[in-house]
Symmetry: C2
Subunit: 324 residues, 2 copies
């Protein structure tokens, strides 16, 4: 920047102001600076900028499992969304462990990240307080309102209702769910929503048809196995996410349970593989591309100083395929 200033015959302060636009610069001065910048192929040193401003140009994406295609898509969308803002996405895997989640959040504060986008899995609302107090913008992608942060959550009511309509229209009444762990962040809104809506269709999700596990394929297989040992087997199984549903399919095949003949299966998310398995997986799609873009936008608003806290709903959609 000093070099640019010299070539342009101005002070480095002026170069800085040309770059930031934070105070008016005479047209000819600006032109000279821009020419010098091009001539020297100059780019600002973001490290120095960060040190000076106390704000890095990094956005942390904190997720339970980056290898899950759903989160991979989120990462891709977020990266695309923040690229134009001169920010970079740092990926952080928590393995769904609260201590990791907390450690990563703390690090985001210590390193003065420009923002955090997180899908919490075992965090408690109070874990966010330090981050918010430190002035680091946080966007949470989760099912339910959650601490003093911007939130992006799915409006899955209509989609879940539609799923139930299809399931019950086929005469199924014994609705089960392979839900997330009991200590997951925000309880289990997907289960609660399902239960609430089931009543509207004259059925229910009885306690002994709810099994729990991590959001993984293995846990899905285990959960499905459990359900098949129930005295009265379910004829429809909703799953916490698509990875779980795929695990359930694995187990169904192993046990000789026909899907959808014996049991209808519904996932959540619409991860890429939902349309690849056979039968194809019916699922409640959470438009992850939109989430990534929205997160980038919310971050930008915060960084621009607009402090309005937002809860943004994105419409989930029931995608009916062969598993139902």
């Amino acid at each position: 920047m000093a070099d640019v200033a010299r070539v342009a015959g101005v002070s480095s302060a002026t170069v800085s102001y040309v770059l930031s636009g934070k105070r008016p610069v005479a047209p000819e001065t600006r032109a000279a600076v821009e020419a010098a910048i091009r001539e020297l192929d100059f780019t600002v040193n973001t490290t120095a900028r960060s040190l000076r401003t106390g704000r890095s140009s990094l956005v942390a994406l904190i997720v339970p499992d980056l290898a899950n295609p759903f989160f991979a898509q989120l990462a891709a969308a977020l990266e695309e969304g923040v690229r134009g803002l001169g920010l970079h996405v740092v990926v952080c895997n928590t393995g769904a462990r609260r201590d990791e989640e907390r450690a990563l959040l703390a690090e985001a504060v210590q390193q003065r990240f420009a923002g955090v986008v997180i899908t919490p899995f075992r965090l408690l609302p109070r874990d966010f307080q330090p981050v918010v107090d430190a002035g680091v913008p946080v966007v949470v992608s989760a099912d339910v309102p959650f601490g003093p942060v911007d939130l992006i959550s799915p409006d899955a009511r209509a989609a879940t209702r539609e799923a139930l309509r299809c399931v019950t229209a086929a005469g199924r009444r014994r609705i089960a769910m392979i839900a997330g762990p009991r200590d997951a962040t925000g309880g289990d809104p997907r289960l609660e929503l399902l239960r609430t809506l089931a009543l509207q269709f004259g059925t229910s999700v009885p306690r002994d048809l709810v099994v729990r596990g991590e959001h993984t394929r293995e846990a899905g297989a285990a959960g499905f196995g459990e359900l098949m040992q129930r005295r009265y087997r379910p004829d429809a199984v909703f799953c916490a996410n698509d990875a779980v549903a795929v695990g359930a399919m694995d187990k169904a095949r192993e046990l000789g349970v026909d899907i959808p003949g014996d049991v209808a299966l519904v996932g959540h998310d619409d991860a890429v593989f939902a349309s690849l398995v056979r039968p194809q997986l019916s699922t409640i799609r959470y438009p992850v591309g939109d989430v990534g873009r929205l997160a980038a936008q919310l971050l930008r608003e915060r960084l621009d100083g607009r402090e309005v806290r937002k809860n943004v709903l994105v419409k989930a959609e029931f995608v009916q395929r062969g598993s139902i």
Copy 2:
């Protein structure tokens, strides 16, 4: 750090040396500093460190398509591998475009990244020279040696041979390949290898049974469609990667071509979905977890100043499933 120094009753230089271990510190001094660090809950400001040392703590992961589960797994493995080194992974998507690849590489230099891990798609060897000259360690994950950088590549010879053995043992002789684009980095070693080995099995991959496209599901579908219009249809199709193979399956189903009855299908990579599709996809597995870990290790060696350039081979493995 000044605070820590004050509490510990030493200079900030000493605190720095305790942290870095770059010069001996008396045990009692060290103890005092460590106590002060704990008391104040101090962590170093990596931004300041980076500015001073001229090296950021960021590793860029540059890939064609982060939403591809294969690269997502790579990201997860790399992140895990570098976390212990105090580094962060910044993900960068190129969309397989050379200009993006070059821009991202240039940025890694300008921002003085600690390292770059890249799967080039359309880069030329000379594109790396500036990065190497700038002293930024580069690890390339690709099929063939490639410029003055550390390389991790699959040894796919045995696996490909085994795949061909299975295919030809079933009496198939009309071998086709849906390959990558002609202008892809490094040509098309997977195709070349297949051709070479095919001769050993008394067959070949004739020119008119090679079609080309991007490494995407859509391109796979298009490629398979093309092949099915050939005067003499292939009875076995190798694909540049698993996404392409899945696209081929899509098209096969659409056209009523039975897999593996009419056509055997073999992918590359063993991305998560290979075992999900039906029939399951036979594929030449490239152990991506190992690649991520190895990349982290090579980076560490470079950062420790060990300058030996390395070409590391990781063994690919033929995974036989239902598509063959």
